[in-house]
């Protein structure tokens, strides 16, 4: 049985931890003090690089690497804390904001010290009214106690934090969409490059970090890199020669919801498997697992064949999915995948910002096709065609059999792939919202195609038994294409 390892959440349930005095009793701000007394800013940046900390917001980009892109000679430089936790199925930042806001402030202080930043904007999701209230109160307290403002603790550091509520748009959780919104414009992502690290808020270099990422900083500084890297696996990236280390260190706040007995946020080391996680969350509610969404609704779905996939950034990327924000949704045998996809596509069609063509008009189109299938109006041709799959020679090709043509399923896959191509991992859109639409659409369709076919054939939603509904991995082209290096498999 895997045990929770609470670090960020360790003191979450301590009464009044949101007040300065109680937070102080639990080592509050001592890590920041250690940073400014014992280390130079460059040392902190090096520690973060060495710790292998990956951004917890979704993309899993190395935080230390991101910091290294920020030009040091252009001032002002800004820190943007992304607290616009809008990915469906994700709710870990919210507890930090509501219960332990001083931890975030301490993380911000360390980041500001390391990067020479004087101004921080915390962009909080508009619906988090309590979180904003608590954070505002904590910021006020920190100002009073001299941990924010001018000449902090007599070190000459000036750091200000401003909170800014969002107005309810999913896309403002995308870093450049967030920056546009923060500047008072329509929340529409920018073209990259230039990346925010070079040209961000008000045209200045900007570090954009998720709440959870910043909350890791006090512990990295307080306990050291060695302590931090012991948690979670470190793989070897074999694309480089010699292979470079690919760390997935630290803990992750997994938000588990859906058909488990004890849904909630669990802080666990990165790298445990899907089935272990379901066990931690009190086990499955229902007979068997039908599917698992591993990283928020935009992540490609995992079938019951893939429950041994390790839930860390690298493993999930190699499994053609992603850890994303760590929002894990478990589905049991009663769930209809067509219906699930419709739910998700309704969300994305509503949340597309409408800036670029493929997403603006492709996303509602995908939704409409899924809606039509769910309504029983999906189209099926009377013709048949050669079936592709694992052929006699063991390779992908013509199997010699024929298959029926479900026109709308072909259309759905084609339209989704035109927004962002799942096989080549490329997108025609400005931001990765396109990927967030086409990944679920195509992965649900490919992995649970029998259920889609049944809905068209029967003219209504049909929930098939798990074994029947799932395409076996060996028959799934995307699964076939998985890239699993030997070094990775051994770990």
């Amino acid at each position: 049985m895997v045990e929770e390892r609470r670090i960020l959440y360790e003191h979450l349930d301590v009464p009044d931890i949101n007040t300065f005095d109680v937070f102080r009793q639990y080592d509050g701000y001592t890590r920041f003090e250690k940073a400014i007394t014992e280390y130079q800013p460059e040392d902190i940046a090096k520690m973060v690089m060495d710790s292998g900390l990956k951004g917890r917001g979704g993309a899993g980009f190395s935080t230390g690497l991101k910091w290294s892109f920020v030009p040091r000679d252009i001032k002002p430089c800004y820190l943007c804390c992304n607290a616009d936790e809008s990915e469906p199925g994700t709710f870990s930042n919210r507890y930090v904001l509501e219960k332990n806001p001083h931890l975030l402030i301490e993380g911000i202080l360390i980041c500001c010290y390391a990067m020479g930043i004087e101004t921080t904007y915390v962009y909080i999701r508009g619906e988090f009214t309590l979180g904003k209230k608590m954070l505002d109160a904590a910021i006020k307290e920190a100002y009073e106690k001299g941990y924010l403002g001018k000449d902090i603790r007599g070190t000459g550091l000036n750091i200000d934090i401003y909170t800014h509520p969002g107005a309810g748009a999913y896309i403002c959780g995308e870093e450049t969409g967030l920056i546009e919104s923060l500047e008072g414009k329509r929340g529409q992502p920018r073209n990259k490059p230039p990346f925010p690290a070079v040209e961000g808020v008000f045209g200045k270099p900007t570090v954009v970090q998720n709440v959870e990422t910043l909350c890791n900083l006090p512990f990295i500084v307080g306990n050291g890199v060695e302590w931090y890297t012991q948690m979670g696996p470190t793989y070897a990236d074999t694309r480089a020669n010699p292979p470079t280390p690919d760390p997935n260190t630290g803990t992750k706040l997994y938000c588990i919801s859906g058909d488990v007995n004890e849904p909630g946020v669990y802080e666990l080391d990165l790298g445990l498997t899907c089935s272990e996680l379901i066990e931690v969350a009190g086990g499955l509610r229902g007979e068997e697992v039908k599917a698992v969404i591993p990283g928020g609704s935009s992540a490609p779905i995992l079938t019951h064949y893939e429950l041994d996939t390790r839930l860390d950034f690298t493993s999930l990327t190699l499994a053609k999915s992603m850890l994303g924000s760590g929002g894990i949704i478990v589905m049991n045998e009663t769930r209809n995948i067509v219906d699930c996809l419709l739910n998700i596509m309704k969300f994305y069609a509503h949340e597309s910002c409408g800036q670029c063509t493929p997403c603006r008009w492709g996303t509602p189109w995908v939704r409409d096709i899924v809606q039509r299938i769910a309504d029983g109006d999906g189209r099926k041709s009377t013709m048949t065609r050669p079936k592709f799959g694992v052929a006699e020679n063991g390779r992908w090709g013509d199997t010699g059999e024929t298959e029926e043509i479900y026109e709308d399923l072909d259309l759905l896959e084609s339209v989704a792939n035109n927004i962002a191509n799942v096989d080549t991992m490329t997108w025609n859109t400005i931001c990765v919202f396109g990927i967030a639409v086409s990944w679920p659409a195509v992965s649900y369709l490919r992995k649970f195609r029998p259920e889609f076919e049944a809905a068209i054939r029967e003219g209504k939603l049909v929930t098939l038994p798990v074994a029947e509904a799932t395409v076996p991995p060996e028959e799934n082209y995307a699964y076939q294409q998985r890239f699993i290096p030997k070094e990775f498999a051994d770990l």
Partner: protein
Amino acid sequence: MAFVKLNDLEIEVEDGTNVVEAAREHGIEVPHYCYHPGLSRPANCRMCLVEPHVFFPPAGAIVPDRQLATGCTTVLRTAPPDRKLDGKYDFIVRTDSERVKKARADILEFLLVHHPLDCPVCDQAGECDLQDYSHRHGHDKSRYLEVKNVPPKKDLGPDVLLYATRCVVCTRCIRFADEVSGTGELGLVHRGSHDEIDIPRSHEGVPLQVLDNKLAGNVVDICPVGALISKDFLFKSRPWFLEKANSVCSGCSVGCNITVEYKADGVYRLKPRFHEDINQHWICDDGRLGYHYVNSDDRLQLPLKRVDDALTPTHWADALATITEKLSDIETEDIVVIGSAQGTNEDNYVLQQFAHDVLKTTQLGLFGQLPGEAHKFPQFTIEADKNPNTAGARTILGSANGNTVLEGDALWEKVSSAKVVYLVSGAPERPLEDAEKAALESVDFLVVQDVLPSEVTQFADVVLPGTTFAEKDGTFTNSTGWVQRIRKTIDPPGEARVDWEITQQLAKQLGGEMNYHFAGEIALEIAENVPGYADATHQKIGDAGIKLADSDQ
């Protein structure tokens, strides 16, 4: 200069050029909607996707990038020596690979899913980027079965209508209002597939601000589809029936480059034409909509002669005979010849030759439209001087022969003491100020050459029907010293004649020796005789114009 491999071409481009422009220079089309060279680049249409090569390739490898990039934001620059691709190229990009072609077709499919395909009744049909690109790059059939969005048609301002169903949300119009006119009336409302261009409105839908700036008409030009439509041109003609001639706007002394679009029965619209140093891509609405007088039914079509206190139509021989008779027995100092800032350099040159050689007077005047308001926009200026050729007329009239050119009060003082005045106006609907009225009233015999009846013509004893900028060839000199060509498009109405021809005819009848056949011939003589105009022949001016050597601006 960057050395770039574009498809199979090896080209040199200026640092900072984007792929769309570099390709255009070499005759390769990269289709685009949102990109406009005069505006910022949001890269939101995704139509100009191209295939760049990896900039930091693994040693020695030349591989296309996994991700396509937008050509409008992909800027070509010289690479450091150690980062040259294939040892020599600063950049390698393909605009014709299979991936690019597929991406274009896919984007076009998305652009057309909500488009009403109402081309038969769309003003833009024939000059529409959606049509052209669909034809060249699109799929041959639609796969869209769902319900189309039908946003409402909207009235955005005095001259602009929005057919929102046709809109591809490229936001060119919004960026124009933000960046060029700086007035910011336009914005996007709603979100996602319900995105709509609109002006600010109250909750009840009442406009709080309308698209009513002096540059508003440009949004119609830059709209790549038929969404923004000019009310002035609405349903007037299919664009492919229009003839086009490069010309210069006569609305003010900026001298914006335009294209006059016309049919045999009149001018249909004026469109801006790119000139880097004068108007970039734009013209103002005063100029754009200021052509209507050309087509007016009130245009002077026959010479008029005062008979019993009323101006009555007559024929040319009679009108000219009347003037000749009057001029033949009059003292030189009693004659004033007044040229026009609305006229071409050629008109004015012939006029001053006539004054000097035939009438032997050196007293010339300069007449033109009254000054109006000047407007300054972030990237555009409208001048207060509402004449296209003040600078040119002033120089040409006063150039040779030691003429003096009188303007303003000095001119009207001179006119009050004159007996015969030959006034070339050409300024449509020119109101007269009191001093001018009094001066003209006191003239014994006033000859007015004009295009429309006006306060000026009502004092005339003989009115000669002249021509507008759309009906003659010639050159204008703008306020910054650019000499540019206007071209004849339509025939003058009735028996109206080109102004310099009228003057030449008069000169001939009075025994002068003048024998020009076309405007270019006069321009050659101007080049010979007028200081600074040595290069201003029609051949050298061409479509781009030339800047006078001695103009210091």
